[in-house]
Structures are given as C-alpha cells and as structure tokens.
Amino acid sequence: MSKIKELEDFATQVRRDILRQVHKVNSGHPGGSLGCTEFFTALYQGGVMEHNPEFNMDGKDEDIFFLSNGHISPVFYSVLARSGYFPVDELNTFRLIDSRLQGHPTTHEGLPGIRMASGSLGQGLSVALGAAQAKKLNKDNHLVFALLGDGELQEGQNWEAIMYAAGNNVDNLIATVDLNGQQIDGSTETVLPMGNMKAKFEAFGWDVMEIEDGNNMEQVIDGLNEAKSRTGKGKPVCVLMTTVMGNGVDFMMHTHAWHGKAPNDEQLETGLAQNPETLGDY
C-alpha cells in the first residue's frame, strides 16, 4: 500500500472519530475539524513534523505545533490519540465531566500533546512566536508550526504577531491558515470580507505559499514539505491552505451550518457510511 493511501485511510478513521465524538455528546465542532483532517494527518503521521509522543512540554529537540482555532479539537484529539499521545479509548470522554478532552484544548488537565489552551481566538500565533524564539535561544533547529482559522484573522492580535514575526526574522515558524471561507455567522465574505490574504501576509514581509486543495493528502504533504524547505531564510513562512469545511461528509460540505453542530443518529450513520472503518473504532 502506498504511503499516501495509508495516510488517507488514517484520515478516514479520523473523520469517523470526529463524527462519533461530537455525536456522542451532541456538541462540538465537526465542520472545521473535517476540513483539517488531512493537515493534521500530514503533520503527525506524514513525516512533516519530527515529534515525540512521549510528551514533554518544553518540546526541546522536536518540532512543535500550536492550534490557535481551538474549537476544532475533535480532529486534534483524534490525531494525537492515534499518534500515541494518549489512549484512543479516551476519545470516548470528549466534552464529558472530569475529562482531559475539554471542549477546547487545554493544558489544565494535563492532556499530552497540548502546549497551550486555545479557543478564545487570535492568541495562538503569538504563543507559537514565543516558542519559536525560545528554540532560537536554545539553539534548537527544530520548527514551530501553528494553525489558524481564516475567520480568526479578524482578531487584531494576529496582526501584531504577523508584524513582529517578519520584523524580527522569525524564520523557524510555519503558520498555516485554514482558508475554508466560513465562520459562525456565514461566509467570511458576508461577515467581514478580508480581502487578499496573500497580499496582506506578503506586505507584512512573510514568505507566502499556497496549498490549493488542502483536502488532497499528497498536496498537503508536498506543500508542508515545501514550507519546511523555505524556513531558515530570514522570513516566517505562511501557508494559505484552501479547505472545504465538512470535507468527507457530503451534507456537511460547503456550508457554515456544521461549524458547531452535532449530527443526529441518522446523520451520523450517513456520515460513517461515507467513511468506512480503517483502523478500528475506539
């Protein structure tokens, strides 16, 4: 079996995990999670990041990742669990009382793989920047990755961080923006048009590249590896990754309706039928 096929099978199982987590507690955010399944799979399974499931908060001598748009916790939890950070069975506790799998990711309950709390939007890039500067001080040549939502870029703190990163040549940082064009109240175009994102990042001094289909595993892997090759050259690297919200579950695609809504029993069955079990359900 080709490596890409293996990764696609992994992603299919992750989509099942997302649907089942959210369905069980009738809450959570399936849309953005499904759209970023290939991205997380590429990072943690596709060889993009050198990372250590024997989790160490400091992350010295490994690549580290920060999720800024924390509401897509279901995909993060599934990929971390299936990458060995914590037992896959623990996905059963998503959003339940006394769980380490809080609605939005947090360090507070000590869940391995999480290095900061996120959920209140716009903060992750700054934290990733600080971690990237710490790596430079520590003479650690590994990279810092961050994922941001596109709607999240409406938060001003991002632009403070974007300005700082370029102005200070933080070139060990790869920030990926999930361009799914959707946010809670509708499309980004109707809620608050943000204009040309590529031109904006470039104007701030970033090296910007694009992944045209962020739900195509091969493109995601190639794109992120290309981004890695652009690090260490004086500029922070931005990856504008176009995805389809709800990808892989036909009735959830191309709409903001499933941003924060769980499927009912029937919808779950439909979604699972479209994503047959590959690695075994938890």
């Binding site: 900061m116 709390a117 903060q123 710490a134 001080l137 200070n168």
Partner: protein, 331 residues
C-alpha cells in the same frame, strides 16, 4: 548601622523608626532586580512593549541583548509570546504600564498564561494614581482585582525600591504566573537592602494593641507615618505590610485582628476588588471585625502630582488616621 533596620527610640520609648534612606522609584528596584537576574539566571528573558526607559530595563538589555524581546506597542502579542517562551524553559518577565499589562490584555493573560499554567512574570509599572500627570487613561485602579480573580495567579504589590528589587529576584524562583505591581514616583526607601522576600508572607512593621493597619504598595510608608502620629495620640497601631495580596497571609491578619479587634486597610486601588476586600473576606470567615477602607471609592483618577492625587483621593497618612479614629468608634 543598617539604617533601614534602624531602631532609634522615639520620644515615647516604644516606636521603632523606619528611616527613608533616600527617595527612589520602585520601578528602578524592578530594573535592578532584573539586571541581577540577567547575571544569575540564564533562563530569564524579558519583553517590553515600547517602554524600556519607563520600566528601567536598559541595563538588562545591554548585558543580554539576545534575551530581550521588544514587541513594539503590541501588548497582546507580548503576553502571548511570553507564554510561548515558557515552552522551551524560559522565564519571561513582560513589562509595561499596569493598565496595559492587565485590562488591555485580560483575555490573553487569562487563556494563554493563567489557564495554560505558564511561568510568566507580568511586571506592571506606573500603577495607581501616582502615575500622576498623564491622568486617568493611564492610572489603573482596578488591576489588583482583575489579577487576583485569575486562578493560580500570584499578586504582589511592593512598597519601596528595596522590596521591589527583592521581589523581582524572588519571583524568578516561583514556578507559576505572577503579577508584580509597582509604581512611577520616587518614594521613601525604608525596607532592608538585604531583605529576604518571601511570597505570601506578611511583614509586621509595628506591634500594637488598638487597631491593625494593613497596607500595601505606596500606602505602607503612609501607614508608618500614621502609626507614629497615632502613637502620639495614645493609640497603639499594629502595622502590617502585605506585599503579597494573593496568596494572602491570612494567619497574620487573623492573629493581629484577634488582638486589636478592628482593622484599617490601605491601598492605592479601588476599594472594590482590592486588598481591603481580600482582608474583609478573610475576617468575615474567621474573625469578623469592624473595618475601614483607605482606597479609591469606585472612581477614575485624574491629572495632578502624585502628592496632590494621594491627598485628593484619600490615600495618605492623614486618611489612615481618620479611618482609624472612625473604626475605633465602631469597636
């Protein structure tokens, strides 16, 4: 003789005399402490949002240029970066004015630092009305309340140069987020130069039997002046310097008020949310007693000199004496 520890005897043969060894600003105490940390602790890094001179950080920067991060006028990003620097083992000291170090970035501190359990030291200068002529936009009187409400946050408000320097050095050894509050004006420097700063440990300045005066920050020196004047009127005041508002040294407060039966709290902060309310809660739970609050009364500040503002907003020795006379009548 160590003048700060001097025990000259006053007329009444009872009062210890605290000597002002020369007025100095508490922010310079922070700057000196940070410089010392730069030499002794390689993990200490510093950040500032375009206020290096005001925060007295230049010496640290000159000696450790690679360990300093100038974020520009972007406090939200500064707090986030500070959180990130801890991932990698750094101990970040993030400095700006108290207003911009708290209210402006409350959610960044809440999520990225406090809830995330990050070992960040938030260093807040120019707190309270004694910032002076810049006026209310810059004079935060709500910051102690904001910070003490955050789970896991240690809140410290130092009273003079020596104590601020000692506190700056001490918090580097404490694992967890800290809010260190200090000020702009030159004020009496009267605590020991070689003091050991213990987080959460009250410092008794005078023993007394009639009233307990609990003060923090710039009001500690005023409390000393008040106690001396009260002594001349035959009133014996116990004075406690509370530099750590959270965790509060509850035992010291309860033990003292059990003895004196009433309390005056004094702080350069709104009476809502400040030290006074923490003391009131402690006493309500353990040893209810009459209390008067020397604090601002739910108001913004305004332009003026520090002394004028302290007088106008009732934050000086005279106000403490009045509050004491009032609370004694309620015993």
């Amino acid at each position: 003789m160590n003048s700060a520890q001097a025990t000259e005897t006053t007329k009444n043969k009872r009062m210890k005399t605290y000597i002002d060894t020369g007025k100095k600003d508490t922010r310079s105490g922070f700057g000196e402490g940070l410089t010392e940390l730069g030499r002794t602790n390689p993990n200490v890094v510093a950040l500032c949002a375009d206020l290096i001179g005001s925060l007295k950080m230049q010496d640290f920067i000159d000696e450790n240029p690679d360990r300093f991060f100038q974020t520009g006028i972007a406090e939200a990003n500064m707090m986030g970066m500070a959180a990130g620097l801890t991932v990698g083992g750094k101990i970040p000291f993030a400095g700006t004015f108290a207003n911009f170090a708290t209210g402006r970035v409350y959610d960044q501190i809440r999520q990225s630092i406090a809830y995330s359990g990050k070992n960040v030291k938030i260093c807040a200068s120019h707190s309270g009305v004694t910032l002076g002529e810049d006026g209310a936009t810059h004079q935060i009187l709500e910051d102690i309340g904001l910070m003490k409400m955050l789970p896991g946050m240690t809140v410290i408000n130092t009273c003079d140069f020596n104590q601020t320097k000692a506190a700056t050095i001490a918090i580097a050894e404490h694992d967890g987020p800290v809010y260190l509050r200090f000020g702009r004006p030159k004020v009496a420097n009267f605590t020991a130069e070689d003091q050991k700063f213990e987080i959460g440990k009250a410092v008794q300045l005078y023993e007394g039997t009639d009233v307990t005066i609990i003060a923090t920050g710039h009001l500690v020196w005023e409390a000393i002046q008040a106690a001396q004047q009260l002594s001349e009127k035959g009133i014996s005041a116990e004075v406690i310097n509370i530099h750590t508002i959270k965790p509060l040294d509850e035992k010291a407060i309860i033990d003292s008020v059990k003895k004196t039966g009433c309390v005056v709290t004094a702080e350069e902060h709104n009476f809502l949310g400040g030290l006074g309310e923490s003391v009131a809660r402690t006493l309500a739970e353990n040893n209810p007693a009459p209390q008067e609050f020397v604090a601002t009364q739910d108001t913004f500040g305004e332009s003026g000199t520090p002394d004028q503002l302290m007088a106008k907003y009732g934050l000086n020795a005279e106000a403490i004496i009045k509050a004491t006379e009032k609370v004694l009548k309620r015993k």
